[in-house]
Symmetry: C2
Subunit: 481 residues, 2 copies
């Protein structure tokens, strides 16, 4: 699908050449590019929804330059799209002719303080670099997502990124103590406080987090650090059935002292896909089962107990009939091999056939019911559809992804995307669920906002948008329906 099909604006805004000159002056010679070769990777959406366009990409090197860029654009009435690592899944950072403001040159770690368990960074710092900087001072930054080698902190903040460690450490929002934001009127809000408790008025920072750049541009953040996990135990288990996943979660949270850091559930077809396209993937268990889970427990205490704790807990789960088989990784290599199944699945799923994706959240206990009903519903909508439901079961986050029936061509299947979405999201909504658990709205899910969020909620959001960005110049056409 093209972005226009999602309701994106079809004609680009007019950008006066005087503005282009002014922007060049603000950011200096090394701070901008209009070279199509440079722009190409910044305009391409990796999911494949869209190819964007921009007259210029500016790369300011600090918040003052961002503010100057904003003021110039606002004065000229020209819209702006902010961009970090461009790794989003909903085309939220793709410009359609707007000025592209890349935060990539703002890549300093401003301060790291082990005693405070905090790090203060520019928005353009890559997530993996923050993880590494924390590691160097014997601390841990827990956010972990597939794109961590190229996504940036500003993007993580603006999309409230999730990932595999949310169960234990929370979403990005929960990891941010303070923020620096350039507002749509060009003022800089310095909210870079590194406090654990601060009840002085309204929680401004939360409004900018998850707003996908529609209310301003995040330029810096203070992040929470944690003690390093020094012992990690990983297991691959076969579940009695889908319902057993919830019983396992309850048992493991208690039995491990809430040290469970991941519970990733996947169906048999997930392993088969991983093995088909990645010869290095092995099935760790000898027999075939319908549902599996990867279990990870992280101990921050170096007492050699993490693995034995997991062993005892899984033994109890087998005894209670929750699990039918289980294996614990005996080495880091074996643990990597277990996680490879999950990674290969995500990577190779598109090769199986046209994918129609859903990043759904429902209450934790409702996941099995949701998956069963949604699977039946898509079968009814497009018979033969292959549902691959996997996800972060500790958080209620199901990636309900669909491959075309065998023999059906891609375009025939994706032509039914809207019907499939409707079937899946309607069921999620019945459980009080969300149609956008961790990937956000961007352009792609705007129309769902209207259907699944109440008029009161949409109206409040529109009011906040109109208040902060009255001319609608910040990431126009994103998030709000």
């Amino acid at each position: 699908m093209t972005l226009a099909e999602f309701g994106a604006p079809t004609s680009p805004p007019e950008v006066p050449s005087e503005l282009i000159s002014e922007l060049r002056t603000i950011v200096g010679d090394r701070g901008w590019t209009s070279d199509p070769a440079d722009l190409e990777p910044q305009l391409r959406d990796w999911v494949g929804y869209a190819r964007g366009a921009t007259p210029i990409m500016v790369m300011p090197k600090n918040a003052s330059e961002v503010a100057a860029v904003v003021k110039a654009c606002v004065a000229a009435g020209v819209p702006i799209v902010p961009q970090g690592g461009n790794t989003g899944s909903v085309a939220g950072a793709i410009p359609q002719g707007e000025i592209l403001v890349s935060l990539r040159r703002m890549n300093r770690i401003r301060d790291i303080d082990a005693a405070d368990y905090t790090v203060t960074v520019d928005a353009g710092v890559v997530l993996a670099e923050v993880q590494a900087a924390a590691n160097e001072v014997d601390r841990f930054f827990p956010l972990s997502i597939g794109s961590e080698g190229s996504c940036t902190i500003g993007g993580n903040v603006s999309t409230n990124a999730g990932g595999t460690a949310v169960l234990r450490y929370g979403n990005m929002r929960d990891l941010v103590l303070g923020l620096e934001v350039v507002l749509p009127d060009g003022r800089v809000w310095d909210g870079l406080r590194r406090l654990r408790k601060d009840n002085t008025g309204y929680a401004l920072k939360h409004l900018f987090m998850g707003a996908e750049g529609t209310l301003g541009i995040v330029t810096g953040a203070v992040l929470r650090l944690f003690p390093k996990p020094v012992e990690v135990a990983t297991a691959f288990v076969a579940l009695r059935d889908l319902d057993a996943s919830i019983e396992l979660l309850s048992l493991l949270r208690v039995a491990t002292g809430d040290a469970l850091s991941s519970l990733e559930v996947m169906p048999r077809i997930g392993i088969e896909i991983a093995r088909e396209f990645d010869p290095e993937v092995v099935d760790p268990l000898s027999e075939r089962h319908d549902w599996y889970a990867i279990v990870e427990v992280s101990g921050t205490k170096a007492d050699g107990q993490t693995e034995s704790t997991l062993e005892v807990a899984l033994g109890e789960a087998v005894e209670r009939g929750i699990l039918v088989d289980a294996t614990i990784a005996a080495s880091t290599m074996q643990a990597k091999s277990i996680w490879r199944i999950r990674k290969s699945l995500v990577l190779n799923l598109p090769k199986v056939g046209a994918e129609v994706k859903h990043d759904v959240a429902v209450p934790v206990s409702k996941q099995p019911e949701f998956i069963r009903r949604a699977t039946a519903a898509v079968e009814e909508t497009v018979p033969g559809t292959r549902a691959v439901a996997y996800g972060h079961f500790g958080d209620g986050n199901v990636h309900f992804n669909l491959c075309a029936p065998l023999g059906m061509d891609a375009s025939t299947f994706t032509a039914r995307a809207a019907d499939l979405h409707r079937a899946v999201y309607d069921i999620a909504a019945e459980y009080g669920g969300s149609f956008a658990a961790e990937h956000g709205i961007g352009i792609v899910k705007r129309s769902e906002m209207k259907r699944y969020r109440s008029p009161v909620e949409i109206d409040l959001m529109r009011q906040f948008k109109a208040l902060l960005d009255p001319d609608g110049l910040f990431n126009p056409g994103k998030v709000l329906p």
Copy 2:
């Protein structure tokens, strides 16, 4: 001081008798009172700042009734003050002639789900009742504050309550998954989703949390539950000096696998005050030291290791010269006796002489420096002032409370309150600190907002207030300067 001295409005609003009749009809016979005896405890601020006034207290029994009350008041242009347990420290819930809306009759636990680790409650449910309900289903709700026997969830949400378990579990804000709010225009926003991940637009719930009822009335909430701590180990330790508190924090977070649930530091004078007024308080250590801490580690794994872990960690701290003495409670009774020191200190501090209080937060690592400098500054301001600095050191939250010099009478000392505040808050501000860590702003700290928060920040807050409550009818005169 009276509220008028804090800049509260001095003349009460006019309330037409037609509105009073209408409100009575909405909430029914048992839903209102104007009896001075009933009203007395609701109008008295327990800190002693103020005696409030109201023509009527209405007690709606559900969100629809709250909405009807709001609509009637807004139509008549009459302001409203919402109130929960009336246990705040900054007179934030005391009316000055406004309609008092008490949430106390909204006291249902709507749903509790152990598998989801969630509980959904009315705003008027008392905190201790939520703790008890969680306990019954083998779960744990961690918020713990002195007033837990009478404060309500709506108040906890509206003030973003803190307390002694923040280090491990976060502030109230971090424990809320979903909210139900009656907006100032009388619409009900149903945001009662019980999802761990939900990135569908702006984070509306966060704006209402900590807003102290100035942006609407919280009527319900979905709260996160946790596995029950099954083993708690408590110690009383003597620190080498104040700086050792930060070294101890770093050591304990790592050595206990981040299971440290409290680190409460207090000076020698704290124990002396507790012992003077409470004969049951004993000094657990044989010698006198300048600085002490209460350390609590909570294990959610029943493996008998929590106490030995703490023992090993404290042994290491003694070896490294961080501690000069330490004792671990050998029984629940001994643990209670250790906590009694802390509780008696808080309870009896007012008896020592007029108190001038500061609920300050600074970055964790700056607490010792802050306390030294602030102690010197108040000595310079009012020589002989007895500073009692204690608090939640894991969160950077220092209760910097001052008693009058020996022999100085109360009114002479409290007459200097403004100068003492200035001295203390100015130093906190130098460290990027907060003048309101967990108690909020209410009426009492409004003027500090203007001095210590940037014009950009105040302006944003004013804009949000004007947007949601254009007539200024919700808890007027609170929070904003």
